[in-house]
């Protein structure tokens, strides 16, 4: 390849690259730098460079609780997305084209509506006097309302609704990569529908489940709107804590430190998960 053609890809991607650097990397670097500054209520932000904010966060059980809750909610959302999303993707895959595209619309449609609007909708459903609780009480199944608003399960329910399209799309991609004749082969060898699903389909879509899980987990761990609205002010997660530090106490450096810790720990979890799974499945998938 000559010099000119080697430079061409760079030239062509230059506009996008510039945008990327300016809009993503700059704030990230600035947040990183900010996290080493210090803050007090009288003098505001001081341009110091030490680990004070990190020490504050890592020595306070209050923050540990917040991070634990953040990752538990993300984990629970991921698990629910796998349990519901994988069979759903498979069922859709087996449907006639008409129903398949209809269901795709149903599943992807919500992505076109603002998360805030959707979450407010969940608020109407999940509240103590909400649709679900009054319904259950009216038919006499429960006597007192289930507490779903301002609780972790409520956040998981609403977040699953937001995240499940990503799981379905990831699983869908690997379903399309598998040879449909493998299902017929299993059937001809005497396997019933459940055996076909668990022994033949599921193992082949594991790469899709893994990538979907990574996507859902990282997006859930850093989600803001759903935990802010359904969780409220008391059920704090990492992203809402960052928000409170920035907008409430105005302690920007501490907020920045929490944001950096969240980013780094999500990255570490993702990389570890990826490595683990690569090792586990390198035997069967190329």
């Amino acid at each position: 390849m000559n010099r000119q053609s080697a430079a061409k890809p760079w030239l062509l991607s230059a506009p996008a690259l510039t945008l990327f650097l300016a809009l993503l990397l700059t704030p990230l670097v600035m947040t990183f730098v900010l996290s080493f500054n210090s803050f007090n209520f009288y003098g505001g932000i001081k341009n110091t460079h030490d680990f004070g904010n990190y020490l504050d966060v890592l020595s306070d059980s209050f923050f540990y609780e917040i991070f634990a809750r953040t990752f538990l909610i993300a984990l629970a959302t991921t698990v629910v997305c796998v349990i519901l999303g994988v069979p759903e993707a498979y069922i859709m895959f087996r449907m006639k084209p008409f129903w398949r595209s209809t269901l795709f619309l149903v599943i992807l449609g919500p992505l076109l509506i603002s998360v805030v609007v959707r979450t407010l909708g969940w608020q109407i459903l999940l509240g103590n006097k909400g649709l679900i609780n009054s319904g259950l009480m009216n038919i006499g199944l429960i006597s007192r309302p289930f507490r779903m608003m301002y609780s972790s399960p409520g956040v998981v329910i609403a977040m699953t609704h937001v995240m499940i399209p990503f799981m379905i799309l990831a699983v869908w991609a690997s379903l399309q990569r598998q040879d449909p004749a493998t299902e017929q082969a299993a059937e001809s060898l005497g396997a019933g529908p459940l055996t076909v699903f668990f022994r033949v389909v599921l193992p082949q879509v594991i790469p899709g489940i893994l990538s979907g899980s990574l996507l859902v987990f990282s997006m859930s761990a850093s989600a803001f709107a759903t935990p802010a609205i359904i969780g409220g002010r008391r059920l704090k997660v990492a992203s809402t804590t960052v928000y409170d530090e920035f907008m409430g106490t105005l302690n920007w450096p501490l907020g920045a430190a929490i944001a950096v810790i969240l980013l780094v720990s999500v990255l570490i979890i993702m990389l570890a998960w990826n490595r683990l799974m690569e090792r586990r499945y390198s035997g069967a998938f190329g």
Partner: protein
């Protein structure tokens, strides 16, 4: 009684008539090929036997039992798919053992039967490989082993050799025939490759556009095709439009482009017909004995034989001659051609050619 009977099998996909009124019976231990061009309904026929497609009408009878209400997983057939459809996440041993596992065969017996069938297909020693670490030919053997290990009444093969390169394909043809005979299993093979069908089968069923055109042994079909479609689909042939002038019990007279030819006795009324003449039946002779004379226009050397094109008054004729190391007529040479009358096949005029 036949092992497998297909009775007036018909399959429609919307407006497309994929298989039309297909009737065929297959005897115990027989190797039958469904042969036809791509899209003629071979796979659809096989899928109906396997239970993956429901016939629009007609019946499939295996061992005297109508399979109409029997789901695919209860039919107990061995199927080898065109893509092999091996389970990528299972080793060879797990792949082959899957059918036995589904039948609840105990692990110890399963291991023994898997080992035996892997020996049959010459794959012993590769039991712990994953499919993606194997060559095309090896995967194909795994697929055959997986279908055979359940000791099926019937083995169905859908274009099993089409993903292999030419040399391996020839080797696997012989292999497949050996395995089929050693296992003694009744087999239905689907293929669009006439040489594969001829090499492997006891009988060939030639299909065109969803219809069964002719059934018979490879020799019968090659020597006595009943339509010009069959004669051109199996091997090379010269097809000539002619007029049948006269038929007697001893022979017939045909006129082709103004040239009168002697032909074999025929079951046709005088009128337009087609005549098929295999290139290997055309011989060189001298001017006195010639049926027609012409000029060589092209000549191709194929190693074991020469293929020449000769321009004659009755049309362009292909001629093949064994390579005996001697010189052959060159392009431009005048040659005199002859053949005996019984080597002409007289066929019904192709309706599509008349219109």
């Amino acid at each position: 009684m036949a092992l497998l009977e297909l009775k007036n099998l018909t399959k429609r996909f919307g407006d497309v008539l994929a298989v039309s009124d297909f009737t065929l019976s297959v005897e115990q231990g027989e190797f039958v090929s469904l042969l036809g061009p791509s899209g003629c309904g071979k796979t659809t026929t096989l899928q109906m036997i396997a239970g993956f497609e429901t016939p629009t009408s007609g019946a499939i009878i295996l061992n005297g039992r109508n399979l109409e209400d029997v789901p695919a997983r209860k039919r107990g057939l061995g199927i080898v798919f065109q893509s092999y459809a091996l389970f990528p996440h299972m080793t060879v041993e797990q792949n082959v053992g899957f059918g036995l596992e589904m039948r609840g065969v105990a692990p110890a017996e399963r291991a023994g039967r898997v080992r035996k069938v892997l020996e049959l297909v010459h794959l012993d020693g590769l039991a712990n490989r994953y499919p993606r670490a194997m060559s095309g030919g090896q995967r194909q053997r795994v697929a055959v082993a997986r279908a055979l290990v359940i000791e099926p009444d019937l083995l169905l093969l859908d274009e099993p050799l089409s993903n292999l390169d030419a040399k391996l394909r020839e080797e696997m043809q012989l292999e497949l025939r050996r395995i089929q005979q050693e296992a003694g299993v009744t087999t239905v093979l689907v293929t669009h490759d006439q040489s594969e069908a001829m090499a492997l089968s006891d009988r060939i069923a030639v299909m065109q556009a969803g219809e069964l055109m002719q059934v018979g042994s490879p020799f019968e079909i090659y020597e006595r095709p009943r339509s010009s479609f069959v004669s051109t689909f199996l091997g090379k042939t010269n097809t000539l439009a002619a007029r049948l002038e006269q038929v007697t019990p001893e022979g017939s007279l045909l006129v082709c482009n103004g040239v009168t030819l002697k032909g074999p006795p025929a079951n046709f009324l005088p009128g337009p017909v087609e005549v098929s003449l295999r290139p290997e039946r055309v011989e060189l002779t001298d001017a006195d004995n010639a049926v027609v004379s012409g000029t060589v226009s092209e000549r191709v050397f194929l190693g074991n034989q020469w293929l020449s094109k000769v321009n004659t008054p009755i049309g362009e004729l292909l001629m093949t001659r064994r390579n005996r190391g001697s010189d052959e007529p060159k392009p431009g040479d005048t040659v005199h051609l002859a053949w005996s009358a019984e080597h002409l096949s007289i066929l019904a005029a192709d309706r599509s050619r008349l219109t």
